[in-house]
């Protein structure tokens, strides 16, 4: 099974994680048009490439961001949304 590095708990098998979808910035719902909002809600940038994604480490209840290439399935970095820095090094076990 693939390994993923949780910023808090280090390298773990994928089975310990839940995929939370792509990390996306919502348009300002006060100013955006109905169709802009509908597009935000339903549409996705489905083409392969580097994505910012939500991942959740179940045993510890940790949400974090993974930067992953959806074509190669390689993860370049993972970090807590709060601390927007790669804390994988010191944590990785």
């Amino acid at each position: 099974m693939k390994l993923l590095t949780c910023p808090m708990n280090g390298s773990r098998p994928l089975s310990e994680f839940i995929f939370g979808g792509e990390y996306r910035d919502a348009p300002d719902q006060k100013t955006c048009s109905d169709s802009e909002w509908a597009a935000y809600v339903h549409n996705r940038s489905g083409a392969p490439g580097d994505k910012k994604e939500w991942w959740y480490h179940s045993p510890s209840g940790t949400w974090f961001i993974a930067e992953r290439n959806t074509l190669s399935d390689k993860v370049s970095r993972t970090y807590l949304l709060s601390a927007n820095t790669n804390s994988t090094q010191e944590q990785a076990k």
Partner: protein
């Protein structure tokens, strides 16, 4: 401790170990420890000592626990003379008797082992403090001992839990038998053991699973009494 007559019927007057539903059996000895009914013996002392050497599984859900978290949690602990682990996901002993687990950076779980009083002390503090939130604990907790313990983990957990792969004070939040659990290595009453905690509502399932494999590996259930000499 006063040993109760073996009885598998549910007793509603005392708290019961969450693993108890999986521990019925004529030979099981029960006692109330820390106000919780717990299995103190599953077989003769000789048999249990033998199991411990290979792979003993002991239900210690009755140890008192206290949990708290929050941005101010570490500070608050210090204010109450509690020794806490300096780094996330590690553990330490406070005044030799109370285990202090640091889950991630800002959550703590205390467990009073034989004679510890830290939980009692902290739970007596009623004042709610900004940035510190009490986390009620209802864990099922187990001690695993013996030479085959790593063989058991090899089947139940995909992580490398060999001493060579862990720091002595690591706290591992992972999945054991498919459910979330906390695992550490510690020395308990002078014996090197592994510890597992999981949500109490999974306690019976976890016990069944641990015992099934322990028995295959030549070990088995060991009562709490075997840890009190």
């Amino acid at each position: 401790m006063q040993a109760l007559t073996p009885n598998n019927a549910v007793k509603l007057d005392a708290k019961i170990s969450p693993a108890a539903p999986a521990q019925s059996g004529a030979s099981v000895q029960w006692a109330v420890v820390n106000d919780m009914q717990i299995a103190t013996a599953f077989a003769s002392a000789e048999v249990e000592q033998a199991r411990k050497k290979v792979l003993g599984v002991t239900d210690v859900s009755c140890f008192p626990r206290y949990g708290f978290k929050g941005p101010q949690a570490a500070q608050w602990a210090a204010d109450h003379e509690l020794a806490i682990p300096s780094s996330p996901n590690s553990w330490t002993l406070s005044d030799q008797k109370s285990l202090v687990l640091r889950l991630g950076g800002s959550e703590f779980v205390l467990e009073d082992q034989m004679g510890g009083v830290a939980c009692e002390k902290l739970s007596s503090i009623s004042a709610r403090v900004a940035g510190v939130y009490k986390v009620p604990r209802a864990d099922a907790a187990f001690i695993l001992s013996g030479s085959a313990v790593l063989n058991l983990f090899a089947e139940l957990c995909s992580l490398d839990l060999r001493p060579s792969a862990l720091l002595a004070n690591d706290v591992i939040m992972t999945q054991v038998a498919g459910i979330s659990a906390i695992v550490i290595r510690q020395t308990h009453n002078g014996e090197p053991v592994y510890r597992i905690w999981c949500d109490g509502t999974y306690g019976a399932y976890m016990w069944e699973t641990l015992i099934e494999i322990a028995v295959e590996l030549g070990g088995g259930a060991v009562g709490l009494a075997s840890y009190q000499h």
